[in-house]
Every structure is written in C-alpha cells, then in structure tokens.
C-alpha cells in the first residue's frame, strides 16, 4: 500500500509540472494583451481587457501578410518537392542493387552523419557564388535539400517492408515502370509519407537559421521567424509589439500540432535514429 501511494505522489508531481511546463507560453499569451506598464505591474494577472488592438497594429506595422505569405510559400514548396522526389528516390534506391545505387544512397545520407554547422559557412558561400543570396528560390532550394536526407532515409526503410510481388504483378500486366510507381507503390507509402510531410512542414515553418544564412536581412524574402528575430532580439525590445507577434507566429504551429498530433509524435520516434 505504502509503495502505491509513493508512486502516485510522483504522478501528481509530474502532472503538476506539466502545467508549469506550459507556464511560459501562458504568460506570454496573457501579457500580449497588456500595455507595457501593466506587464511590469501585473505580470501574473489577466489583462484588463482582451482588446485585439495591439494584434492589429502589429499585423499591419510589421507587414504580417507578407511574412506569413513568404513562410507559407516556403513551407508549401519545400514539402511539395520533398513529397514528389523523396519517395521516388527512396523507392528506386531500395529496389535497385549495384554500385550506382549504393553511391547515390550514400550521397543522400551523408548529411545525416556530418553536422549542419560544419558546412553551413561554405553553403552560404556557394549560394552567394550562384547569385542567390537573399532570393526566395535560393532559400527554397536549400531548405528542400536539407530536408531531403531524412525524408529519403525514412521512406527507404519503409519501402523495404513493402511486398515486391505487387509491383511484379503490375509489370506482368504491362504497366510501365513509372505508372507502376505512381499507381501502385506511391499509395502504399502513404503512412510514412504523411509522417515526412508533417515533420518537414513543422521544420520549414519554424526555421530561423537557414533563413538567416541564406536570406539574411532582405525584408522581401524573410520568413516570419527571421523577421521576428531581426525586429525584436535587440537589447531593449518593443514588447508591446513583440508579444502579439510571437503569439501570431505560434498559432499555425499549435493548430497544426492539435490536428496532426498522432503523426507528429509517431514521426518523431520514427525519425529519432537520425544522429
């Protein structure tokens, strides 16, 4: 009996902590409705009014339509290219034996072994040499390239468990290889593809480092994270605008999380092998 109660004490602590875990986010939320003086004087209190004035002001002052538009464009392009190319490559690599296939596979998964920080300098250089610094296309290419290795790796692992007989049937029926892939194989890859899409959506939406490196200070091509960082990370931040900005930048991720929770959590465990 004694031991049972001991364990439940631990459970209670863990559950209470889970509320504390969200505390920083809750504090940001309630303070985002206050004028600066109220933040300092009634930090823990609920705001006097839930007026959206500061939200609207931030939205127009910092050109949120452009920022959100850019971030959406980046996320959609990256995810679409990944969803098209990664399964094609992963499928063919898993089904083809031989030197060429082996070399291609290694080329694709090298980035999973070397840390991004070790080549980001020369990557920035390469993008600059190609005249794509500050451009949207340059950023989309890099962002897609960085998402590719894990996507191919995860799908590659999955393809190995897809029965090869199905494809053979299709071949005997006279379907071409490309059609076999799109009609038979791709639908079978749906579970792992969903996971990949979900992970890459979050990664691209939340990206700051790559956008910093490739787009830098070009206001036209910044994503929302980079813009918030450039605007508000100075010593004396303008918190009255920063807090609504932070909340607005988080809302899409949070909604996405609530809808896709199962896939996100599943995807994390599937992708965790990445070193």
């Amino acid at each position: 009996m004694k031991k049972a109660s001991k364990i439940s004490v631990l459970s209670i602590i863990v559950f209470i902590c889970s509320i504390f875990w969200l505390m920083p986010l809750l504090l940001i939320f309630i303070n985002s409705f206050k004028p600066y003086n109220d933040m300092l004087q009634e930090f823990l209190a609920l705001p006097k009014s839930w007026s959206l004035n500061m939200y609207i002001e931030t939205w127009t002052k910092f050109d949120f339509p452009l920022l959100i538009g850019n971030t959406l464009l980046y996320t959609i392009c990256t995810v679409l290219i990944i969803a098209l190319l990664a399964p094609m490559a992963a499928y063919k690599l898993a089904r083809t034996k031989g030197k060429l296939s082996g070399v291609c596979f290694v080329l694709i998964i090298i980035p999973m072994m070397v840390p991004f920080q070790s080549y980001m300098i020369t990557l920035t250089r390469l993008v600059a040499n190609m005249g794509m610094t500050g451009s949207k296309i340059g950023y989309i290419l890099v962002s897609t390239g960085l998402c590719m290795p894990l996507a191919v790796y995860m799908i590659h692992g999955f393809v190995k468990n897809v029965p090869i007989e199905l494809e053979e049937c299709a071949c005997i029926d006279g379907a071409s290889k490309v059609r076999t892939y799109f009609n038979i194989v791709l639908p079978l890859l749906k579970p792992i593809l969903t996971t990949v899409v979900v992970l890459d959506t979050l990664a691209t939406w939340n990206d700051i480092i790559t956008n910093q490196l490739i787009v830098g200070g070009n206001a036209k091509a910044m994503n929302i994270q980079n813009a918030l960082y450039m605007q508000f990370s100075a010593q004396t931040a303008d918190w009255e605008h920063a807090l609504p900005g932070i909340v607005m930048s988080m809302i899409p991720s949070l909604i996405f999380f609530v809808i896709m929770q199962k896939h996100i959590v599943g995807g994390i465990t599937a992708g965790a092998v990445k070193g």
Binding site: I7, S11, V14, F15, S18, W21, P24, L25, L27, I28, N31, Y36, M39, L40, F43, A89, Y91, K92, T96, S101, C104, L107, V114, P115, Q117, S118, Y119, M120, I121, T122, L123, R125, L126, V142, T144, G145, P149, V152, V178, Y181, I208, I209, Q225, N226, L228, Y229, F232, S233, A237, A242, I246, M250, S253, L254, F256, F257, Q261, I268, A272, G275
Partner: protein, 294 residues
C-alpha cells in the same frame, strides 16, 4: 536488345533518383567538399587572393586559439548537464505517462508543445520572462533571485541555456521513452512481481534493460544535440556575456562571419566533424553493448 533495356533501366533510375541527389549535392555534399578545399587557405572570404598555408590553420587551432578551447570547454560542460538532466527528467515523466493511459494525453501534449515552437519564439519568450517578467516578480515578492541578472552573469547564463534547452526538448525524449516503455511485455513485469521483486527492482532489473534501445537513441540524440549546440546560442545569447556561452559551432560561425577568417573557420569545421563522429561512434558502441532482447 539487352543493351537497350539496360539503357532504359538506367534512364528510369536517373529519372527517379538524380533529382533528389542533385538537391543534396547542392545543399550539403558540395559545400562539405568546399570546406576541405578552403581549410588549407588563409582567406578572408571576400578578397581575390587566397594564400595557400597548408596545415597551418589546423596547427593554429591546436596551439594558438584560446577561444576555441574555451568554447570546447563550454560545449563539454553543457553536454554533461544537458544529457544527464534531460534524460533523467524525460525518463521519469515517461514512466508516469506510460502508466496513466487515459489522463496522460493532455499532460504529454503539455510537455511536448515547446518542442514544436520555433526557436525565435522560444528565445523571445525567455528573454521576456527573464527581463520584464522577473522585474515584475521582484517588485511583488522581493526575492533576490528575481533581481539577479540572469543573462548578464556568466554562471547564470550557462544555467539559463541549460534550463531553456531542457524545457524545449524534453517532450522529444519523453515520446521516445514512452514508445520504449510501452513495448516492454507485460508478462515479464508480472513475472518479476510474482517472484517478489519490488517496484524499484522491477524498474532496474526488467524495465530499464528492456528499454535500452530507447535509452541509446535518447542518449545519442541528446549528446549530438549538445555537441552541435548552435541555434540557441546564435538566437538567444549570441555567446555572451563575455564569451561565456560560446559553443564550438558558434565559435566557427563567428570566425567566418564576424572575424572574416574563412580558411580558419573551415578548418575548425573539419575538426568539429571529427569530434562529433568520435563521440557518436563511442556512444553507439557503449549503448549497443548494453542492449538486451526480451
């Protein structure tokens, strides 16, 4: 006839695989090779003349670069704190969450949410809490700890970085541990209990050995994360105060983009890759040898 089929196969292979390879070549493989090339030059990244210096950059790193070793010390210290704290906490939380099935999904989500929020938001949130937030709390409570300069003192800034990264990433490890714990066969735990083992013995002798795959994944990812610590530093502390929170990766970044010592930065990148690889290999060997099959 046969040759023709082979060419066709090759064409189809190229159609399927080469686009993906091209993306990775561009974003990683080529930059990595450029790294090897630049690392033997003395170059500021802009000017036309690059002076070939052979291995001098590498010699400089090991003999004449106090900041690099300071950043190495910081990274090692951070790794120890981060790996221990995040794994102990997330395993504890996971043990509770895995058992309480119904009530735990909301709790799990609460722990997990910081992990899906962007680093920009995270670092601004903590800046706000440690700045205006603590100022307000100090006025209400009068507790001295709210009056400390958390980001302005070297020792405190270190702990802020540890606490913030643990806070953000705990959910990730928790999810992995929960997956491992759920996979442990119930019969084994029942059998141990019937044999008279108490809760702690069950945990130590049955559960932990069986979740070693999850442990090794979590240890490995947390260790490599700690070694590669960069984003948080770049966005949050910028290495300050007084260079006390400079990580190795951030040191490399600064060398290239602030000090304009390109050749040196690329040489450091290579040393860094070797560090990370060595740690990864050792870690894999150690944890793999401890894994048990159910």
């Amino acid at each position: 006839m046969k040759g023709k089929g082979k060419t066709k196969d090759l064409l189809i292979f190229a159609l399927f695989v080469f686009p993906a390879v091209a993306f990775v070549l561009f974003s990683t493989d080529v930059p990595f090779l450029m790294n090897l090339y630049y690392s033997v030059f003395d170059w500021n990244g802009i000017s036309k003349d690059m002076e070939f210096v052979g291995l001098q950059n590498f010699v400089n790193i090991f003999t004449n670069d106090a900041l690099f070793w300071k950043s190495t010390a910081f990274t090692l210290k951070f790794s120890v704190f981060y790996v221990v704290i995040v794994n102990v906490l997330s395993l504890t939380v996971a043990l509770v969450m895995a058992k309480e099935k119904k009530s735990s999904s909301v709790g799990r989500a609460f722990y997990y949410i910081p992990y899906i929020i962007s680093l920009t938001a995270i670092s601004l949130i903590w800046k706000f809490i440690l700045g205006p937030g603590f100022e307000a709390l100090y006025q209400v409570t009068g507790w001295e700890m709210f009056n400390w300069s958390w980001l302005g003192t070297a020792k405190l800034a270190f702990f802020v970085v540890v606490i913030m990264t643990v806070w953000q990433n705990l959910g990730f490890y928790m999810v992995n541990y929960i997956a491992g714990i759920i996979a442990v066969p119930k019969e084994l735990i029942e059998a141990a209990k019937i044999d008279g083992a108490n809760k702690f013995q069950v945990l130590r002798k049955v559960t932990v050995p069986l979740i070693m795959p999850a442990v090794s994944i979590c240890m490995l990812t947390s260790l490599t994360f700690a070694f590669k610590l960069f984003d948080v530093i770049m966005v949050f502390t910028k290495g300050g105060p007084a260079n006390s929170t400079i990580s190795v990766a951030y040191n490399i970044y600064k060398e290239a983009f602030v000090n304009n010592r390109y050749g040196m930065a690329t040489a450091k990148s290579l040393v860094f890759v070797v560090f990370v690889l060595i740690v990864t290999v050792i870690q894999l060997k150690v944890t793999k040898s401890k894994e048990v099959e159910a």
